[in-house]
């Protein structure tokens, strides 16, 4: 009889274990680190990493880009329709949704948000893409759950832009803090941490009808030091690291292989460009070098991108083929290939422009030794490694490269105000898939047209062509046509090399095995994009923390 009871007990426990491991458990606190103090809790102005994290976790959106499938999905809007060539969008809103303070979500909140967004005094990275022309947005409320927004001019990629627009409350007395996201800010100790608690009015439920999020709270510790972040992860004080450097990834992988994730090439790029500003305070002969397509392409050919990926990123990167990463599946031009290292080819290109080798020193047709400096931001060890690898590569074609590391404000001043630099090595963080978000890079009149910003008219024929193609892709809603235009832009950039793209680094992250339902992706935020579905158990099955 006793033996029978034992068997039954063991069977029950096993069933319990199986059930608990399959069924998400509510409760618990997820902890991870922010790299800096958030600069603001105003969702409309959040544009630094840390502020955007808080915004992502506490606000709701009409449309959401699913970070895994890279497809748009309905969120607070149950459906939508774009019409009028991208000038108008109609939303059918989800019913029965409440803000975190219990006030109902209505069309008025959407109207309020859009008016705030289109305020000309608001200079926000989410607002600017909507302003394809001057003027106000026309808001029409068709019924309590339907709203139509008409913009002054067609807006490229209109629906996807709503993935970045947090819906604010028009009526709540705490309208800045009442949110529609899975969590609300409960505590903030400056310089130390931010505690978010579950939004008890959150509208989402799981397939079994249980209220989401599963987690009780999320604690964001402010931690600038990457090594300390790893230490705390190892100790179990935090459960995820959203982005991790290659060195730390490998070290962690050696001890905790189940915790690390390499999601493949990210959307970020590392690139170098030459200063082509006519008024730059650099010698004219150097300006002539930098304006030469052959010179730029030769430099590109001399760089060993495979070594950069292997040595600077420990293999967690791949040579970049162009301005987009292949992770951007739809928009990437599949015909492009990363430039292969070709020293003889580089020298041949240079010879075409009158350069020649003189006892291992490359000289131009006037006898000037080819020597220039590349500036990059100090304190970024990987970028410093890239610069030193490039220095060694270019010495093989007789080019003397001086690596100058500067603190970031000094660097920004040089590349955007004084233009007192020769070449610059920086990275670009791409948070959006759509090429329209890069208008301010590719238009020759734009401020972020880094090699020659704010041109009054395109300085070269190929820049004029890029201007034409970018405007063309922004003026149609037919994605097939847009892709054709943008493929041509990518080809021109590959041919002319205004940016010399080096590598696309992989999206590396670390997630504790105690966190379930995590599915690391390449789009930001890589690890907690589905935070409302994450749940925690301890490493011992069946025991809640």
């Amino acid at each position: 009889m006793t033996r029978c009871r034992l068997v039954v007990l063991a069977f029950s426990v096993s069933c319990g274990l199986l059930i608990s491991s399959a069924r998400a458990q509510s409760g618990g606190e997820l902890r991870f680190s922010l790299k800096s103090e958030p600069k603001t809790f105003d969702p409309m102005l959040a544009d630094d990493d840390s502020s955007e994290t808080v915004r992502y976790l506490t606000t709701g959106y009409l449309i959401r880009l699913n970070r895994q499938t890279q497809q748009l999905q309905p969120e607070l809007a149950s459906s939508w329709k774009v019409s009028n060539g991208g000038q108008t969008i109609s939303f059918e809103l989800r019913k029965g949704v409440l803000f975190s303070d219990g006030t109902p979500f209505t069309v008025e909140d959407v109207a309020f948000t859009m008016r705030k967004l289109m305020d000309p005094n608001l200079h926000s990275p989410f607002a600017d893409p909507f302003r394809s022309a001057a003027g106000d947005v026309k808001v029409t409320v068709k019924n309590p759950n339907a709203i139509v927004l008409q913009f002054p001019a067609p807006v490229a990629n209109l629906e996807q832009l709503f993935d970045g627009v947090p819906i604010l409350s028009a009526n709540s007395s705490q309208n800045d803090t009442a949110g529609l996201g899975p969590f609300v800010v409960a505590e903030h100790k400056a310089g130390s941490y931010i505690l978010l608690k579950r939004n008890t009015h959150y509208w989402k439920h799981d397939a079994e009808g249980r209220a989401l999020p599963y987690l009780d709270s999320v604690r964001l510790d402010i931690q600038q030091n990457r090594d300390l972040e790893i230490l705390r992860f190892r100790r179990g004080e935090t459960q995820l690291i959203n982005t991790i450097e290659a060195d730390n990834y490998d070290r962690l992988a050696a001890d905790m292989p189940a915790a690390v994730h390499d999601a493949g090439p990210s959307f970020d790029t590392e690139q170098m460009w030459f200063n082509q500003v006519a008024a730059a305070p650099i010698p004219d002969y150097k300006k002539a070098w930098f304006r030469s397509q052959n010179f730029r392409r030769a430099i590109s050919q001399a760089i060993n991108r495979a070594d950069m990926s292997r040595i600077a990123f420990n293999g967690h990167a791949r040579p970049a083929a162009g301005l987009l990463s292949p992770a951007n599946q739809f928009w990437f031009n599949q015909n492009l290939r990363a430039e292969e290292t070709d020293i003889p080819g580089a020298l041949k290109r240079l010879a075409a422009d009158g350069f020649h080798l003189d006892k291992d020193v490359l000289r131009d047709r006037d006898g000037h030794a080819v020597e220039f400096s590349v500036i990059t931001n100090a304190g970024n060890k990987v970028r410093e490694r890239l610069a030193v690898l490039m220095q060694d590569d270019l010495s093989k074609i007789g080019v003397h490269l001086n690596v100058v590391t500067l603190d970031f404000p000094s660097l920004i001043e040089r590349i955007s105000r004084s233009f007192n630099y020769e070449a610059c090595l920086l990275g670009l963080v791409n948070v959006d898939l759509d090429p329209s978000t890069q208008m301010n890079v590719w238009l020759s009149s734009a401020s972020n047209h880094q090699w020659n910003p704010e041109e009054k008219s395109p300085a070269t024929a190929w820049e004029a062509e890029i201007d034409r193609l970018m405007r063309a892709q922004a003026s149609t809603t037919d994605n097939r046509k847009r892709k054709e235009y943008f493929d041509q832009v990518q080809q021109i950039v590959a041919d002319q090399a205004p940016f010399i793209y080096l590598v696309n680094k992989n999206a590396l992250s670390a997630i504790s095995p105690s966190v379930h339902n995590a599915a690391p992706v390449v789009l930001r935020p890589q690890t907690y994009w589905n935070i409302d579905s994450l749940y925690i158990t301890s490493t011992t099955a069946g025991i809640r923390p």
Binding site: S36, E37, K39, T40, D47, D48, H123, S124, P125, F126, D128, P129, R131, K189, A190, G191, S192, I222, Q223, Q224, N225, D227, L228, L231, D407, F408, P409, S410, L411, I412, E413, R414, S416, R417, L428, D432, T437, Q438, N440, V441, S445, A446, S447, N448, E454
Partner: protein
């Protein structure tokens, strides 16, 4: 007599502090990268927004005008608003200053404890093995960057104050050792030894009084050393104190925060040095 001199002394201190604030603000204003904002590199922002960003700190470009307005605000208790954190500087200080002051105070005290009492035996006996061992120990900590010491403390589960102590103690040791050994070689000390006085009595009555003015001066500057060490230690180890705030403000050219920090450091430094000067002079007068 010193009471009569006090108002003049305080006025001199106040003027020095105000001058220090202006000089500090000028250094920040004319450093490269002043007035730039990382957000200018955000490709989502339009050209117009970027121009607005560039103009947002225009009021700080006129440094004299800025400093005048700042002082007016200071007398009303308004320390300005941080441009990088968007929060009132007074609140930032209220949150962070107690932790830093505590770390610095404990760090200086512990640094003196290690450094001074390691050096003291050398005033009485010059055992070679002890000299080599202590010189090696202090030399090792002197050669380690403050950031490395700070990180080591974090890994060992120690406090930031201990890291500060490890930065301060080698300097205290080297100076104290030299000051005390020099004082111990004075003729009257040798005579005291020859007369058979107890070592403790020799130290307390003959060595320390001679060394006191220099030691008090050393005490004053050890506060500056500790404050200087607090910046990299707090920055690297993520302790939310004024040191970390200083580092962030320097990286962002946050003029409102940096002006206030300059004034704060000046007040602490001048106070520490004034106290040490007074003590040194009092001891010197007693000896006369």
């Amino acid at each position: 007599m010193w009471l009569r001199a006090l108002p003049k002394h305080l006025l001199r201190l106040a003027l020095t502090i105000l001058l220090g604030g202006l000089l500090g603000a000028t250094l920040v204003r004319f450093a490269p990268g002043f007035g730039v904002d990382e957000r200018e590199l955000d490709s989502r922002l339009s050209t117009q927004s970027i121009h607005v960003l560039r103009q947002s700190q225009a009021s700080q470009r006129d440094i004299l005008g800025y400093y005048r307005a700042y002082l007016q605000g200071l007398f009303r208790g308004d320390l300005g608003v941080s441009t990088s954190l968007g929060r009132p500087v007074a609140r930032l200080f209220a949150e962070r200053l107690p932790a830093t002051l505590r770390n610095v105070a404990v760090g200086v005290a512990a640094g003196w404890l290690f450094g001074f009492f390691l050096a003291l035996p050398m005033a009485l006996s010059r055992r070679r093995s002890y000299e080599v061992a202590t010189a090696g120990l202090s030399g090792m900590f002197l050669c380690l960057p403050a950031a490395v010491l700070g990180l080591g403390m974090v890994y060992a589960g120690g406090a930031a104050a201990m890291a500060i102590a490890l930065v301060v103690f080698p300097r205290i040791f080297h100076y104290s050792r030299n000051i005390l050994t020099h004082a111990s070689e004075r003729p009257h000390v040798l005579a005291a030894h020859a007369r058979g006085l107890q070592p403790a009595r020799i130290v307390v009555w003959h060595i320390l009084p001679n060394a006191a003015p220099l030691l008090f001066a050393l005490m004053g500057i050890s506060v500056s050393i500790a404050l200087g060490a607090a910046i990299p230690i707090e920055a690297i180890c993520d302790y939310p104190g004024v040191g970390q705030l200083t580092w962030l403000a320097a990286l962002n050219r946050d003029l409102p925060v940096l002006v206030n920090i300059t004034l704060l450091i000046m007040i602490i430094t001048l106070t520490a040095n004034s106290v040490s000067d007074l003590l040194g002079q009092a001891v010197a007068r007693q000896r006369i």
